[in-house]
Protein backbone atom coordinates (compact mmCIF):
# COMPACT_ATOMS: atom_id res chain seq x y z
CA UNK A 1 0.00 0.00 0.00
CA UNK A 2 2.72 2.50 0.85
CA UNK A 3 5.06 1.35 -1.92
CA UNK A 4 3.89 3.70 -4.62
CA UNK A 5 4.22 6.95 -2.73
CA UNK A 6 7.57 5.81 -1.42
CA UNK A 7 8.72 5.04 -4.92
CA UNK A 8 7.58 8.44 -6.17
CA UNK A 9 9.32 10.12 -3.32
CA UNK A 10 12.45 8.17 -4.09
CA UNK A 11 12.51 9.44 -7.65
CA UNK A 12 11.86 13.04 -6.64
CA UNK A 13 14.39 13.01 -3.88
CA UNK A 14 16.93 11.34 -6.05
CA UNK A 15 16.44 13.74 -8.91
CA UNK A 16 17.02 16.70 -6.64
CA UNK A 17 19.80 15.44 -4.49
CA UNK A 18 21.74 12.64 -6.16
CA UNK A 19 24.01 14.75 -8.34
CA UNK A 20 24.31 17.61 -5.85
CA UNK A 21 25.55 15.73 -2.85
CA UNK A 22 25.27 12.19 -1.62
CA UNK A 23 26.01 13.11 1.97
CA UNK A 24 23.50 15.93 2.00
CA UNK A 25 20.97 13.51 0.57
CA UNK A 26 21.66 10.97 3.30
CA UNK A 27 21.28 13.61 5.99
CA UNK A 28 18.03 14.86 4.50
CA UNK A 29 16.48 11.39 4.60
CA UNK A 30 14.70 10.24 7.67
CA UNK A 31 16.76 7.68 9.61
CA UNK A 32 15.91 4.23 8.23
CA UNK A 33 14.88 1.32 10.35
CA UNK A 34 17.56 -1.32 10.72
CA UNK A 35 15.92 -3.78 8.33
CA UNK A 36 14.35 -1.41 5.80
CA UNK A 37 16.51 -0.53 2.78
CA UNK A 38 17.74 3.02 2.57
CA UNK A 39 16.74 5.34 -0.22
CA UNK A 40 20.16 4.89 -1.73
CA UNK A 41 19.72 1.13 -1.77
CA UNK A 42 16.34 1.59 -3.39
CA UNK A 43 17.85 3.79 -6.05
CA UNK A 44 20.71 1.36 -6.59
CA UNK A 45 18.15 -1.40 -7.06
CA UNK A 46 16.39 0.59 -9.76
CA UNK A 47 19.68 1.25 -11.50
CA UNK A 48 20.40 -2.46 -11.29
CA UNK A 49 17.10 -3.06 -13.06
CA UNK A 50 18.15 -0.81 -15.93
CA UNK A 51 21.59 -2.42 -16.06
CA UNK A 52 20.34 -5.98 -15.54
CA UNK A 53 22.47 -6.22 -12.39
CA UNK A 54 22.04 -7.46 -8.83
CA UNK A 55 19.21 -5.53 -7.14
CA UNK A 56 20.66 -6.08 -3.67
CA UNK A 57 18.26 -6.33 -0.77
CA UNK A 58 15.91 -3.50 -1.81
CA UNK A 59 14.15 -5.46 -4.55
CA UNK A 60 15.01 -9.05 -3.66
CA UNK A 61 12.59 -11.62 -4.98
CA UNK A 62 10.85 -9.23 -7.34
CA UNK A 63 10.85 -9.80 -11.10
CA UNK A 64 11.53 -6.77 -13.30
CA UNK A 65 8.58 -6.12 -15.61
CA UNK A 66 10.55 -5.31 -18.76
CA UNK A 67 12.93 -8.25 -18.56
CA UNK A 68 10.15 -10.57 -17.48
CA UNK A 69 7.88 -9.40 -20.30
CA UNK A 70 10.56 -9.97 -22.92
CA UNK A 71 11.30 -13.45 -21.59
CA UNK A 72 7.64 -14.48 -21.67
CA UNK A 73 7.45 -13.19 -25.24
CA UNK A 74 10.66 -15.03 -26.09
CA UNK A 75 9.38 -18.27 -24.58
CA UNK A 76 6.25 -18.05 -26.74
CA UNK A 77 8.41 -17.29 -29.80
CA UNK A 78 10.58 -20.37 -29.21
CA UNK A 79 7.51 -22.58 -28.88
CA UNK A 80 6.25 -21.00 -32.11
CA UNK A 81 9.42 -22.31 -33.77
CA UNK A 82 8.27 -25.88 -33.14
CA UNK A 83 4.50 -25.40 -33.28
CA UNK A 84 3.91 -24.80 -36.08
CA UNK A 85 7.22 -23.49 -37.55
CA UNK A 86 9.30 -26.66 -37.63
CA UNK A 87 6.19 -28.83 -38.09
CA UNK A 88 5.32 -26.98 -41.31
CA UNK A 89 8.92 -26.70 -42.51
CA UNK A 90 9.35 -30.47 -42.18
CA UNK A 91 5.70 -31.24 -43.02
CA UNK A 92 5.95 -29.53 -46.40
CA UNK A 93 9.12 -31.45 -47.26
CA UNK A 94 7.68 -34.95 -46.90
CA UNK A 95 5.31 -36.73 -49.28
CA UNK A 96 1.62 -36.01 -48.80
CA UNK A 97 0.94 -39.45 -47.31
CA UNK A 98 3.25 -38.61 -44.39
CA UNK A 99 2.52 -34.96 -43.65
CA UNK A 100 0.47 -35.67 -40.53
CA UNK A 101 3.07 -38.03 -39.11
CA UNK A 102 5.52 -35.13 -38.91
CA UNK A 103 2.95 -32.86 -37.27
CA UNK A 104 2.09 -35.62 -34.80
CA UNK A 105 5.75 -36.15 -33.96
CA UNK A 106 6.22 -32.43 -33.21
CA UNK A 107 3.06 -32.29 -31.09
CA UNK A 108 3.85 -35.54 -29.33
CA UNK A 109 7.36 -34.39 -28.47
CA UNK A 110 6.03 -31.04 -27.16
CA UNK A 111 3.78 -32.83 -24.67
CA UNK A 112 6.24 -35.56 -23.73
CA UNK A 113 9.17 -33.21 -23.12
CA UNK A 114 7.00 -30.89 -21.06
CA UNK A 115 6.29 -33.75 -18.66
CA UNK A 116 9.96 -34.74 -18.54
CA UNK A 117 10.99 -31.13 -17.95
CA UNK A 118 8.44 -30.58 -15.19
CA UNK A 119 9.31 -33.79 -13.36
CA UNK A 120 13.11 -34.05 -13.51
CA UNK A 121 14.54 -32.27 -16.54
CA UNK A 122 14.60 -28.69 -15.37
CA UNK A 123 16.20 -29.60 -12.06
CA UNK A 124 18.78 -31.88 -13.69
CA UNK A 125 19.85 -29.03 -15.96
CA UNK A 126 19.52 -25.91 -13.82
CA UNK A 127 19.62 -27.20 -10.26
CA UNK A 128 22.94 -27.26 -8.46
CA UNK A 129 22.71 -29.27 -5.25
CA UNK A 130 24.53 -32.25 -6.82
CA UNK A 131 27.48 -29.86 -7.12
CA UNK A 132 28.31 -31.73 -10.31
CA UNK A 133 29.73 -30.62 -13.64
CA UNK A 134 27.45 -33.06 -15.46
CA UNK A 135 24.03 -32.91 -13.80
CA UNK A 136 22.30 -30.10 -11.91
CA UNK A 137 20.45 -31.12 -8.80
CA UNK A 138 17.26 -32.41 -7.27
CA UNK A 139 16.03 -29.22 -5.62
CA UNK A 140 13.65 -28.32 -8.45
CA UNK A 141 12.14 -31.77 -9.17
CA UNK A 142 8.47 -31.33 -10.17
CA UNK A 143 9.25 -27.60 -10.37
CA UNK A 144 9.20 -27.47 -6.57
CA UNK A 145 10.46 -24.08 -5.34
CA UNK A 146 10.15 -22.65 -8.83
CA UNK A 147 8.14 -19.49 -8.25
CA UNK A 148 7.71 -16.06 -9.74
CA UNK A 149 10.69 -14.82 -7.75
CA UNK A 150 13.88 -14.71 -9.85
CA UNK A 151 16.54 -17.39 -9.52
CA UNK A 152 19.58 -15.12 -9.32
CA UNK A 153 21.90 -17.87 -10.58
CA UNK A 154 20.45 -17.28 -14.04
CA UNK A 155 18.80 -13.87 -14.08
CA UNK A 156 18.34 -11.12 -11.54
CA UNK A 157 15.07 -9.87 -12.97
CA UNK A 158 13.34 -12.81 -14.63
CA UNK A 159 10.83 -14.93 -12.73
CA UNK A 160 12.15 -18.40 -12.05
CA UNK A 161 9.02 -19.99 -13.51
CA UNK A 162 9.37 -17.91 -16.69
CA UNK A 163 13.02 -18.95 -16.99
CA UNK A 164 12.02 -22.61 -16.52
CA UNK A 165 9.34 -22.36 -19.24
CA UNK A 166 11.67 -20.49 -21.58
CA UNK A 167 14.32 -23.19 -21.27
CA UNK A 168 11.65 -25.86 -21.71
CA UNK A 169 10.93 -24.59 -25.22
CA UNK A 170 14.56 -25.34 -26.13
CA UNK A 171 14.18 -28.82 -24.69
CA UNK A 172 11.12 -29.31 -26.92
CA UNK A 173 12.61 -28.21 -30.22
CA UNK A 174 15.87 -30.12 -29.86
CA UNK A 175 14.48 -33.67 -30.16
CA UNK A 176 11.93 -32.40 -32.69
CA UNK A 177 14.83 -31.49 -34.98
CA UNK A 178 15.90 -35.16 -35.08
CA UNK A 179 12.57 -36.03 -36.73
CA UNK A 180 13.84 -34.53 -39.99
CA UNK A 181 16.47 -37.22 -40.54
CA UNK A 182 14.20 -40.16 -39.85
CA UNK A 183 11.03 -38.80 -41.45
CA UNK A 184 8.57 -41.07 -43.25
CA UNK A 185 9.85 -44.37 -41.84
CA UNK A 186 9.97 -44.61 -38.03
CA UNK A 187 7.22 -45.88 -35.77
CA UNK A 188 5.57 -43.18 -33.69
CA UNK A 189 5.86 -45.21 -30.48
CA UNK A 190 9.54 -45.85 -31.18
CA UNK A 191 10.17 -42.12 -31.60
CA UNK A 192 8.49 -41.34 -28.27
CA UNK A 193 10.51 -43.99 -26.41
CA UNK A 194 13.72 -42.88 -28.13
CA UNK A 195 13.15 -39.23 -27.22
CA UNK A 196 12.39 -40.05 -23.58
CA UNK A 197 15.67 -41.88 -23.06
CA UNK A 198 17.62 -39.43 -25.25
CA UNK A 199 16.56 -36.46 -23.15
CA UNK A 200 18.01 -38.02 -20.00
CA UNK A 201 21.12 -39.39 -21.67
CA UNK A 202 22.04 -36.49 -23.96
CA UNK A 203 20.06 -33.29 -23.57
CA UNK A 204 19.85 -32.85 -19.79
CA UNK A 205 23.54 -33.53 -19.08
CA UNK A 206 24.73 -31.55 -22.10
CA UNK A 207 22.53 -28.55 -21.31
CA UNK A 208 23.84 -28.58 -17.75
CA UNK A 209 27.44 -28.84 -18.88
CA UNK A 210 27.03 -25.80 -21.15
CA UNK A 211 24.51 -23.64 -19.31
CA UNK A 212 24.27 -24.95 -15.74
CA UNK A 213 25.73 -22.83 -12.94
CA UNK A 214 28.10 -25.68 -12.06
CA UNK A 215 28.48 -26.92 -15.63
CA UNK A 216 31.70 -28.41 -17.01
CA UNK A 217 31.84 -26.18 -20.10
CA UNK A 218 30.02 -23.04 -18.92
CA UNK A 219 32.85 -20.63 -19.57
CA UNK A 220 30.87 -17.43 -19.11
CA UNK A 221 29.15 -18.14 -15.80
CA UNK A 222 30.95 -20.96 -13.97
CA UNK A 223 34.19 -19.68 -12.38
CA UNK A 224 35.27 -23.31 -11.94
CA UNK A 225 34.51 -24.51 -15.46
CA UNK A 226 37.12 -27.04 -16.57
CA UNK A 227 36.52 -26.19 -20.21
CA UNK A 228 35.88 -22.50 -20.82
CA UNK A 229 33.74 -22.90 -23.92
CA UNK A 230 30.95 -20.50 -24.88
CA UNK A 231 27.60 -21.21 -26.50
CA UNK A 232 25.17 -18.33 -26.42
CA UNK A 233 21.91 -19.92 -27.56
CA UNK A 234 22.60 -23.60 -28.18
CA UNK A 235 24.93 -24.44 -31.07
CA UNK A 236 26.24 -27.45 -29.20
CA UNK A 237 23.32 -28.16 -26.87
CA UNK A 238 20.57 -27.89 -29.46
CA UNK A 239 21.93 -28.18 -32.99
CA UNK A 240 25.01 -30.37 -32.70
CA UNK A 241 23.37 -32.76 -30.24
CA UNK A 242 20.26 -33.24 -32.36
CA UNK A 243 22.09 -33.20 -35.70
CA UNK A 244 24.73 -35.80 -34.86
CA UNK A 245 22.17 -38.00 -33.12
CA UNK A 246 19.96 -37.68 -36.20
CA UNK A 247 22.73 -38.96 -38.46
CA UNK A 248 23.35 -42.01 -36.30
CA UNK A 249 19.66 -42.78 -35.93
CA UNK A 250 19.05 -42.50 -39.66
CA UNK A 251 21.98 -44.85 -40.35
CA UNK A 252 20.70 -47.44 -37.89
CA UNK A 253 17.18 -47.07 -39.21
CA UNK A 254 18.20 -47.46 -42.85
CA UNK A 255 16.86 -45.59 -45.86
CA UNK A 256 13.21 -45.20 -46.79
CA UNK A 257 11.80 -47.90 -49.07
CA UNK A 258 12.46 -46.77 -52.61
CA UNK A 259 15.16 -44.25 -51.62
CA UNK A 260 17.13 -43.23 -54.70
CA UNK A 261 14.54 -44.89 -56.97
CA UNK A 262 11.12 -43.40 -56.23
CA UNK A 263 10.27 -39.74 -56.44
CA UNK A 264 10.41 -38.33 -52.91
CA UNK A 265 10.02 -34.66 -53.73
CA UNK A 266 8.44 -32.29 -51.17
CA UNK A 267 4.66 -32.32 -51.38
CA UNK A 268 4.30 -28.61 -50.57
CA UNK A 269 7.03 -26.05 -50.92
CA UNK A 270 4.46 -23.47 -49.85
CA UNK A 271 4.05 -25.04 -46.38
CA UNK A 272 7.81 -25.38 -46.17
CA UNK A 273 8.31 -21.67 -46.83
CA UNK A 274 5.60 -20.68 -44.37
CA UNK A 275 7.31 -22.82 -41.73
CA UNK A 276 10.69 -21.28 -42.54
CA UNK A 277 9.32 -17.78 -42.01
CA UNK A 278 7.94 -18.81 -38.63
CA UNK A 279 11.29 -20.34 -37.67
CA UNK A 280 13.09 -17.12 -38.56
CA UNK A 281 10.67 -14.95 -36.56
CA UNK A 282 10.61 -17.37 -33.63
CA UNK A 283 14.39 -17.52 -33.61
CA UNK A 284 14.54 -13.95 -32.25
CA UNK A 285 13.13 -15.38 -29.03
CA UNK A 286 15.65 -18.20 -29.21
CA UNK A 287 18.72 -16.03 -29.80
CA UNK A 288 17.99 -12.57 -28.43
CA UNK A 289 15.99 -14.17 -25.60
CA UNK A 290 19.06 -16.15 -24.57
CA UNK A 291 20.40 -12.98 -22.96
CA UNK A 292 17.73 -13.73 -20.29
CA UNK A 293 17.07 -9.98 -20.19
CA UNK A 294 15.91 -7.17 -22.44
CA UNK A 295 19.39 -5.68 -22.40
CA UNK A 296 22.17 -4.63 -24.74
CA UNK A 297 23.42 -8.17 -25.19
CA UNK A 298 19.94 -9.17 -26.41
CA UNK A 299 19.91 -6.18 -28.76
CA UNK A 300 23.22 -7.23 -30.29
CA UNK A 301 22.01 -10.83 -30.66
CA UNK A 302 18.89 -9.56 -32.43
CA UNK A 303 21.02 -7.74 -34.97
CA UNK A 304 23.56 -10.50 -35.58
CA UNK A 305 20.77 -13.06 -35.99
CA UNK A 306 19.14 -10.96 -38.69
CA UNK A 307 22.35 -10.27 -40.59
CA UNK A 308 23.68 -13.82 -40.62
CA UNK A 309 20.33 -15.29 -41.64
CA UNK A 310 19.67 -12.89 -44.48
CA UNK A 311 23.21 -13.26 -45.82
CA UNK A 312 23.06 -17.06 -45.64
CA UNK A 313 19.67 -17.24 -47.40
CA UNK A 314 20.82 -14.91 -50.15
CA UNK A 315 24.15 -16.71 -50.58
CA UNK A 316 22.53 -20.17 -50.81
CA UNK A 317 20.22 -18.86 -53.54
CA UNK A 318 23.18 -17.28 -55.31
CA UNK A 319 25.13 -20.55 -55.27
CA UNK A 320 22.15 -22.37 -56.80
CA UNK A 321 21.60 -19.70 -59.43
CA UNK A 322 25.27 -19.78 -60.38
CA UNK A 323 25.79 -23.52 -60.53
CA UNK A 324 22.34 -24.84 -61.43
CA UNK A 325 20.59 -21.99 -63.14
CA UNK A 326 17.71 -21.68 -60.65
CA UNK A 327 17.49 -20.03 -57.25
CA UNK A 328 14.96 -22.35 -55.59
CA UNK A 329 12.58 -21.71 -52.72
CA UNK A 330 14.02 -24.69 -50.89
CA UNK A 331 17.45 -23.16 -51.41
CA UNK A 332 16.42 -19.89 -49.81
CA UNK A 333 14.68 -21.74 -46.96
CA UNK A 334 17.69 -23.97 -46.38
CA UNK A 335 20.02 -20.99 -46.38
CA UNK A 336 17.87 -19.11 -43.89
CA UNK A 337 17.69 -22.05 -41.49
CA UNK A 338 21.42 -22.73 -41.87
CA UNK A 339 22.17 -19.08 -41.13
CA UNK A 340 20.02 -19.22 -38.01
CA UNK A 341 21.71 -22.43 -36.88
CA UNK A 342 25.27 -21.19 -37.38
CA UNK A 343 24.74 -17.80 -35.72
CA UNK A 344 23.03 -19.43 -32.71
CA UNK A 345 26.12 -20.09 -30.55
CA UNK A 346 27.71 -16.82 -31.67
CA UNK A 347 24.85 -14.31 -31.71
CA UNK A 348 25.54 -12.80 -28.28
CA UNK A 349 29.32 -12.79 -28.68
CA UNK A 350 30.07 -11.44 -32.17
CA UNK A 351 29.62 -8.05 -33.84
CA UNK A 352 27.96 -7.18 -37.14
CA UNK A 353 31.07 -8.01 -39.19
CA UNK A 354 31.34 -11.38 -37.49
CA UNK A 355 27.67 -12.04 -38.26
CA UNK A 356 28.11 -11.39 -41.99
CA UNK A 357 31.18 -13.66 -42.14
CA UNK A 358 29.18 -16.34 -40.36
CA UNK A 359 26.32 -15.88 -42.82
CA UNK A 360 28.58 -16.68 -45.77
CA UNK A 361 30.03 -19.79 -44.11
CA UNK A 362 26.51 -20.84 -43.10
CA UNK A 363 25.47 -21.02 -46.73
CA UNK A 364 28.57 -22.56 -48.30
CA UNK A 365 29.38 -25.37 -45.87
CA UNK A 366 25.86 -26.78 -45.26
CA UNK A 367 25.18 -26.45 -49.02
CA UNK A 368 28.11 -28.74 -49.72
CA UNK A 369 27.03 -31.09 -46.92
CA UNK A 370 23.47 -31.38 -48.24
CA UNK A 371 24.40 -31.81 -51.88
CA UNK A 372 27.87 -33.35 -52.16
CA UNK A 373 28.47 -35.12 -48.83
CA UNK A 374 25.05 -36.77 -48.75
CA UNK A 375 25.31 -37.87 -52.38
CA UNK A 376 28.78 -39.31 -51.81
CA UNK A 377 27.87 -41.42 -48.80
CA UNK A 378 24.26 -42.18 -49.70
CA UNK A 379 22.71 -41.97 -46.22
CA UNK A 380 19.01 -41.10 -46.18
CA UNK A 381 18.98 -37.96 -44.02
CA UNK A 382 15.48 -37.32 -45.36
CA UNK A 383 15.12 -33.60 -44.60
CA UNK A 384 18.82 -32.78 -44.05
CA UNK A 385 18.91 -32.50 -40.27
CA UNK A 386 22.54 -33.60 -40.32
CA UNK A 387 23.56 -31.37 -43.21
CA UNK A 388 22.02 -28.25 -41.74
CA UNK A 389 21.98 -28.70 -37.95
CA UNK A 390 24.98 -30.94 -37.22
CA UNK A 391 27.28 -29.39 -39.81
CA UNK A 392 25.89 -25.89 -39.19
CA UNK A 393 26.05 -26.23 -35.41
CA UNK A 394 29.59 -27.55 -35.60
CA UNK A 395 31.00 -24.75 -37.76
CA UNK A 396 29.01 -22.28 -35.67
CA UNK A 397 30.60 -23.50 -32.43
CA UNK A 398 34.04 -23.22 -34.00
CA UNK A 399 33.51 -19.79 -35.60
CA UNK A 400 32.23 -18.49 -32.26
CA UNK A 401 35.66 -19.30 -30.84
CA UNK A 402 37.33 -17.29 -33.58
CA UNK A 403 35.00 -14.29 -33.80
CA UNK A 404 33.81 -13.70 -30.21
CA UNK A 405 34.64 -10.26 -28.86
CA UNK A 406 34.19 -8.77 -25.40
CA UNK A 407 33.27 -5.45 -26.99
CA UNK A 408 29.68 -6.65 -27.51
CA UNK A 409 29.39 -8.75 -24.36
CA UNK A 410 31.11 -7.72 -21.14
CA UNK A 411 30.38 -11.09 -19.56
CA UNK A 412 33.25 -12.52 -21.61
CA UNK A 413 35.54 -10.57 -19.28
CA UNK A 414 33.30 -10.82 -16.21
CA UNK A 415 34.24 -12.16 -12.80
CA UNK A 416 33.62 -15.84 -13.60
CA UNK A 417 35.39 -15.55 -16.96
CA UNK A 418 38.38 -13.91 -15.29
CA UNK A 419 38.62 -16.65 -12.66
CA UNK A 420 38.39 -19.57 -15.06
CA UNK A 421 40.61 -18.07 -17.75
CA UNK A 422 38.00 -17.40 -20.43
CA UNK A 423 38.66 -13.64 -20.35
CA UNK A 424 42.33 -14.24 -21.12
CA UNK A 425 41.53 -16.57 -24.02
CA UNK A 426 39.06 -14.11 -25.53
CA UNK A 427 41.65 -11.32 -25.35
CA UNK A 428 44.74 -13.29 -26.40
CA UNK A 429 43.34 -16.12 -28.55
CA UNK A 430 43.02 -19.80 -27.79
CA UNK A 431 39.27 -19.85 -27.27
CA UNK A 432 38.89 -21.99 -30.42
CA UNK A 433 40.68 -24.82 -28.65
CA UNK A 434 38.14 -24.74 -25.81
CA UNK A 435 35.38 -24.72 -28.42
CA UNK A 436 36.97 -27.73 -30.07
CA UNK A 437 36.93 -29.62 -26.76
CA UNK A 438 33.24 -28.81 -26.27
CA UNK A 439 32.51 -29.95 -29.83
CA UNK A 440 34.29 -33.27 -29.32
CA UNK A 441 32.45 -33.94 -26.05
CA UNK A 442 29.12 -33.09 -27.69
CA UNK A 443 29.70 -35.32 -30.71
CA UNK A 444 30.98 -38.27 -28.65
CA UNK A 445 28.06 -38.04 -26.22
CA UNK A 446 25.45 -37.72 -28.98
CA UNK A 447 26.87 -40.51 -31.13
CA UNK A 448 27.55 -43.06 -28.40
CA UNK A 449 24.26 -42.45 -26.59
CA UNK A 450 22.25 -42.64 -29.82
CA UNK A 451 23.79 -45.97 -30.83
CA UNK A 452 22.92 -47.47 -27.44
CA UNK A 453 19.41 -45.97 -27.28
CA UNK A 454 18.54 -46.89 -30.87
CA UNK A 455 19.34 -50.57 -30.35
CA UNK A 456 17.56 -50.50 -27.01
CA UNK A 457 14.40 -49.09 -28.60
CA UNK A 458 14.73 -51.58 -31.45
CA UNK A 459 14.58 -54.35 -28.86
CA UNK A 460 11.63 -52.80 -27.00
CA UNK A 461 9.25 -51.55 -29.69
CA UNK A 462 11.04 -52.09 -33.00
CA UNK A 463 12.08 -49.05 -35.00
CA UNK A 464 10.23 -49.31 -38.29
CA UNK A 465 6.63 -49.91 -39.28
CA UNK A 466 5.83 -52.79 -41.62
CA UNK A 467 6.69 -52.38 -45.28
CA UNK A 468 3.01 -52.16 -46.17
CA UNK A 469 2.44 -49.34 -43.67
CA UNK A 470 5.45 -47.43 -44.91
CA UNK A 471 4.38 -47.75 -48.56
CA UNK A 472 0.82 -46.74 -47.85
CA UNK A 473 1.85 -43.85 -45.62
CA UNK A 474 2.19 -43.27 -41.90
CA UNK A 475 -0.73 -40.85 -41.65
CA UNK A 476 -3.55 -43.26 -42.30
CA UNK A 477 -1.90 -46.22 -40.53
CA UNK A 478 -0.32 -44.65 -37.45
CA UNK A 479 -2.68 -41.74 -36.87
CA UNK A 480 -5.91 -42.77 -38.59
CA UNK A 481 -6.20 -39.52 -40.50
CA UNK A 482 -5.32 -38.05 -43.86
CA UNK A 483 -3.70 -34.68 -44.40
CA UNK A 484 -5.71 -33.90 -47.49
CA UNK A 485 -9.13 -35.48 -47.90
CA UNK A 486 -10.12 -35.57 -51.54
Amino acid sequence: MIRTPLLVRTFVTAGLCWIASLSAFAQASAPAKASAPTTEERLAALEAYINNGDPGKALTGVPGPGHNGWMMTSAALVLFMTLPGLALFYGGLVRRKNVLSVLAQCLGIAGLVTLLWWSFGYSLVFGKNYDSAFFGGSEFFFLRNVTSAPNVDYGFWVSHNVFAMYQMMFAIITPALIVGAIAERMKFSAIMVFVTIWMFAVYFPLAHMIWGATGLMNGVWNPYAKITAIDFAGGTVVHMSSGWSALILCLILGPRIGFGRDKMAPHSMVLCMVGTGMLWVGWYGFNAGSAVAADGVAANAFMTTTLATAVAAFTWGLIEKTFRGHASILGYCSGAVAGLVVITPACGFVDSTGAVIIGVFAAVVPYLACTKLKAKFGYDDALDTFGVHAIGGTIGAFLTGILATASVNGNLTGAAATTNGLAKRVAQGGLWLEQLKAMVITIVLAVVATVVIAYLVKAITGLRPTEEVERQGLDINEHGEEGYVT
Binding site: A265, P266, R324, L330, S334, C370, T371
Partner: protein, 112 residues
Protein backbone atom coordinates in the same frame (compact mmCIF):
# COMPACT_ATOMS: atom_id res chain seq x y z
CA UNK B 1 -18.64 -40.54 -88.73
CA UNK B 2 -15.23 -40.00 -87.22
CA UNK B 3 -13.85 -39.65 -83.68
CA UNK B 4 -10.99 -37.20 -83.50
CA UNK B 5 -8.71 -37.46 -80.46
CA UNK B 6 -6.27 -34.57 -80.08
CA UNK B 7 -3.60 -34.35 -77.39
CA UNK B 8 -2.52 -30.72 -77.20
CA UNK B 9 -0.71 -28.24 -75.00
CA UNK B 10 -3.04 -26.99 -72.23
CA UNK B 11 -2.66 -23.31 -73.07
CA UNK B 12 -3.79 -23.95 -76.68
CA UNK B 13 -7.22 -25.28 -75.63
CA UNK B 14 -9.15 -22.01 -75.88
CA UNK B 15 -7.77 -21.23 -79.32
CA UNK B 16 -8.56 -24.72 -80.65
CA UNK B 17 -12.09 -24.65 -79.21
CA UNK B 18 -12.88 -21.29 -80.83
CA UNK B 19 -11.49 -22.34 -84.20
CA UNK B 20 -13.47 -25.61 -84.18
CA UNK B 21 -16.70 -23.82 -83.28
CA UNK B 22 -16.13 -21.51 -86.26
CA UNK B 23 -16.18 -24.44 -88.74
CA UNK B 24 -19.36 -25.95 -87.27
CA UNK B 25 -18.14 -28.43 -84.63
CA UNK B 26 -20.94 -28.46 -82.07
CA UNK B 27 -19.49 -30.40 -79.16
CA UNK B 28 -16.35 -31.79 -77.60
CA UNK B 29 -15.14 -33.59 -74.50
CA UNK B 30 -12.03 -32.27 -72.74
CA UNK B 31 -9.85 -34.11 -70.21
CA UNK B 32 -6.72 -33.03 -68.35
CA UNK B 33 -4.19 -35.78 -68.87
CA UNK B 34 -0.50 -36.52 -68.28
CA UNK B 35 1.86 -38.23 -70.64
CA UNK B 36 5.04 -38.13 -72.63
CA UNK B 37 6.19 -38.51 -76.22
CA UNK B 38 9.46 -37.41 -77.71
CA UNK B 39 9.52 -34.33 -75.46
CA UNK B 40 10.13 -36.54 -72.41
CA UNK B 41 9.82 -34.92 -68.94
CA UNK B 42 11.84 -32.38 -67.00
CA UNK B 43 14.11 -32.45 -63.96
CA UNK B 44 13.35 -31.08 -60.50
CA UNK B 45 16.10 -30.59 -57.93
CA UNK B 46 15.44 -30.41 -54.18
CA UNK B 47 18.71 -29.64 -52.39
CA UNK B 48 20.84 -32.64 -53.35
CA UNK B 49 18.05 -34.81 -54.78
CA UNK B 50 17.22 -34.81 -58.46
CA UNK B 51 13.94 -36.17 -59.74
CA UNK B 52 12.92 -36.66 -63.36
CA UNK B 53 9.29 -35.87 -63.98
CA UNK B 54 8.34 -38.15 -66.90
CA UNK B 55 4.72 -37.19 -67.37
CA UNK B 56 3.84 -33.68 -68.45
CA UNK B 57 0.37 -32.16 -68.28
CA UNK B 58 -1.57 -32.11 -71.57
CA UNK B 59 -5.19 -31.70 -72.61
CA UNK B 60 -7.07 -34.41 -74.47
CA UNK B 61 -9.87 -33.19 -76.77
CA UNK B 62 -12.35 -35.71 -78.17
CA UNK B 63 -14.65 -34.72 -81.01
CA UNK B 64 -17.25 -36.90 -82.71
CA UNK B 65 -18.14 -35.43 -86.08
CA UNK B 66 -19.41 -36.19 -89.59
CA UNK B 67 -17.23 -37.48 -92.40
CA UNK B 68 -17.69 -34.15 -94.14
CA UNK B 69 -16.40 -31.98 -91.28
CA UNK B 70 -13.71 -34.34 -90.00
CA UNK B 71 -10.87 -33.43 -92.45
CA UNK B 72 -11.49 -29.73 -91.90
CA UNK B 73 -11.56 -30.19 -88.12
CA UNK B 74 -8.23 -32.05 -88.18
CA UNK B 75 -6.73 -29.32 -90.30
CA UNK B 76 -7.96 -26.61 -87.91
CA UNK B 77 -6.65 -28.42 -84.83
CA UNK B 78 -3.21 -28.96 -86.34
CA UNK B 79 -3.03 -25.36 -87.48
CA UNK B 80 -4.12 -23.71 -84.22
CA UNK B 81 -2.35 -26.06 -81.77
CA UNK B 82 0.98 -25.76 -83.54
CA UNK B 83 3.81 -23.84 -81.88
CA UNK B 84 6.55 -25.56 -83.85
CA UNK B 85 8.28 -26.61 -80.65
CA UNK B 86 8.62 -30.16 -79.31
CA UNK B 87 5.59 -31.30 -77.28
CA UNK B 88 2.81 -29.87 -79.47
CA UNK B 89 0.94 -33.17 -79.30
CA UNK B 90 -0.83 -35.52 -81.72
CA UNK B 91 -4.14 -36.02 -83.47
CA UNK B 92 -5.76 -39.43 -84.01
CA UNK B 93 -8.77 -40.11 -86.25
CA UNK B 94 -10.94 -43.20 -85.69
CA UNK B 95 -14.07 -44.46 -87.44
CA UNK B 96 -17.30 -44.45 -85.43
CA UNK B 97 -19.64 -47.44 -85.83
CA UNK B 98 -22.76 -45.77 -84.44
CA UNK B 99 -23.88 -42.78 -82.33
CA UNK B 100 -27.02 -42.31 -80.24
CA UNK B 101 -28.46 -39.14 -78.75
CA UNK B 102 -29.84 -40.32 -75.42
CA UNK B 103 -32.64 -37.75 -75.10
CA UNK B 104 -34.30 -38.46 -78.48
CA UNK B 105 -33.03 -41.94 -79.48
CA UNK B 106 -31.73 -40.44 -82.76
CA UNK B 107 -29.06 -42.54 -84.43
CA UNK B 108 -26.23 -42.01 -86.86
CA UNK B 109 -25.03 -38.63 -88.14
CA UNK B 110 -28.13 -36.81 -86.92
CA UNK B 111 -27.16 -37.75 -83.36
CA UNK B 112 -23.83 -35.92 -83.63
Amino acid sequence: MKLIIAIIKPFKLEEVKTALAAIGVEGMTVTEVKGFGRQKGHTEIYRGSEYTVDFLPKVKVEIATTDAIAPKAVEVIVKTAKTGKIGDGKVFVLPIEDAIRIRTDERGESAI
